[in-house]
Symmetry: C2
């Protein structure tokens, strides 16, 4: 039997029974259980102090997060304990938010939202729409391909860019390397950044790159805020449009000029935050536990050291 702790009763109930697995509740704000817990599932959006108690439980050999990001866990999980993230669990919600931001800006929802409380029925005006547009997905991993899959029936032409060029998949003929980005941009109508928050991605969408886009092109950010240089975005707002679920800084202070810059739509880092999260997370936990009970290696382990 593998002994697994879950952060509260609702997760225990949701996961249910798994062959070869004993489940119990360990809320890290409470004293640790007596049992020899081998897999510790951290609370949703755990802070470091909510993961740190595993240090005093030498039976723990895997810490399973309920998020994709591992930043809070890395400093407090001992080197010899495996750390697994919730890879793929947020893909559906994040990708659909990407499409939502694209459609909201292309179809003028920001103008409609301003007009609505005034009771203003805006005159007929041809807006760009999404059909026939060229869309570049910057950061073509799990979320990026989920975006491409959702865009496919909208009669668009999708270009995928990742850190290095590689062969395509069922959605794109090829994946371009980021070194080709500036050459590809002048042809694009829409750029969707799904870049993670690393030193390498900081400011990738800076002044020079944005300058390569044609007038009225749209830049969407559903990755991490710092990939888009905020000063460069402010300088281009009006010539370009922006639809941002993530910003730098984040949260955006109330007096930040991005809130009221022309053609900018902001959602408050809500990419993965929908009803889709819980059933997908439960499915991943059940699969993970079943693997461990069968003596297999855990999925989605973050490389350490």
């Amino acid at each position: 039997m593998v002994t697994v702790s879950l952060p509260d009763q609702s997760w225990l109930d949701a996961v249910g029974e798994v062959d070869g697995v004993t489940t119990l509740v360990w809320d890290p704000a409470e004293p640790p259980p007596e049992e020899d817990v081998e897999v510790f599932v951290a609370p949703y959006m755990a802070k470091p102090e909510q993961i740190e108690p595993v240090k005093d439980k030498p039976s723990v050999r895997l810490v399973q997060l309920l998020s994709a990001g591992v930043d809070a866990a890395l400093p407090v999980v001992p080197e010899d304990v495996a750390l697994a993230n919730a890879h793929g669990v947020h893909d559906a919600a994040t990708a659909e938010l990407g499409v939502a931001l694209v459609l909201a800006s292309q179809r003028g929802f920001d103008e409609f939202a301003t007009a609505q409380p005034k009771g203003a029925w805006l005159p007929r005006k041809f807006r760009p729409g999404l059909a026939d547009k060229r869309v570049l997905i910057l950061g073509y991993g799990s979320v990026g391909s989920a975006v491409a899959r959702r865009l496919a029936p909208f009669e668009v032409e999708v270009t995928a860019v990742a850190s290095r060029a590689r062969a395509g998949d069922d959605l794109v003929e090829q994946v371009h390397g980021v070194d080709e980005l500036t050459d590809l941009l002048p042809e694009q109508d829409i750029v969707i950044s799904v870049l993670p928050g690393t030193a390498a991605t900081k400011g990738v969408l800076g002044a020079e790159v944005l300058a390569a886009l044609h007038d009225d092109a749209l830049v969407v950010n559903i990755g991490r805020g710092p990939a888009l240089d905020t000063d460069a975005a402010l300088a281009e707002a009006g010539r370009l449009r922006f639809a941002l679920d993530v910003t730098d800084p984040e949260p955006l202070p109330a007096d930040h000029p991005l809130w009221t810059a022309p053609g900018v739509i902001i959602s408050p880092h809500t990419g993965g935050v929908t009803d889709a999260f819980r059933p997908r997370m439960v499915a991943l936990l059940r699969e993970q536990f079943a693997r461990l009970a069968a003596g297999k290696d855990p999925l989605h382990v973050h490389p350490r050291g």
Copy 2:
């Protein structure tokens, strides 16, 4: 040779040369041309008086509209002249607006739009999203299936309803008859009406039908306003959400309570109004003209009499 008139030089240039077809400009505000025009293309959003001049041109045997609706043309086109609409030309733009309205409401864009000018970064809150939801498309024709095609990759379950039950297609297993609507509704999270504006569809979404929906379900209207009973919608706003591109009355007067009803998003009948229109309309015109030059029957002729 078939002689075709187009309403202005820009349409003439856009259509270009078609084998066996002579094109010329006839702006119906001007005197008719001397040539024996056989096909008259009406201006975009033509009023009856912009179509009526064909009565004095007995050579005209087909009036081609640049819209799907034939209401303005029917009273002024002689019975022995064929009348063709722009069937399918608005499908891409209208279907993508349907998905845009769904996503905007499911993901809380109305709340974000209210918060943005205040510089308010809203706290994290799980919203319904689109993944895993059951979506009913009411009025499963050309636009309805275009909506279903765009929804397919969003991990939803789509149910199609039309005036009469029939076999399904590559997107839905079967098409239900509208007589099954009330039985189907309690299971649905989202209803998208694509119903046209006819006597039979008026008030189909009335108080009794809306009452069958569970709390927080979303009703989207991208068909014609009168299919949704406005008083019934106002009574249910708050319990249900609404995202409406068409309304009754339309345009909505500035002091109408729908503008400020809770959970209601309104776009100003902008379904077909994007850059996608012109290239699709040009393709249809070229196909239509080529058919006529080849002696075939015209496409999309409205049944008369």
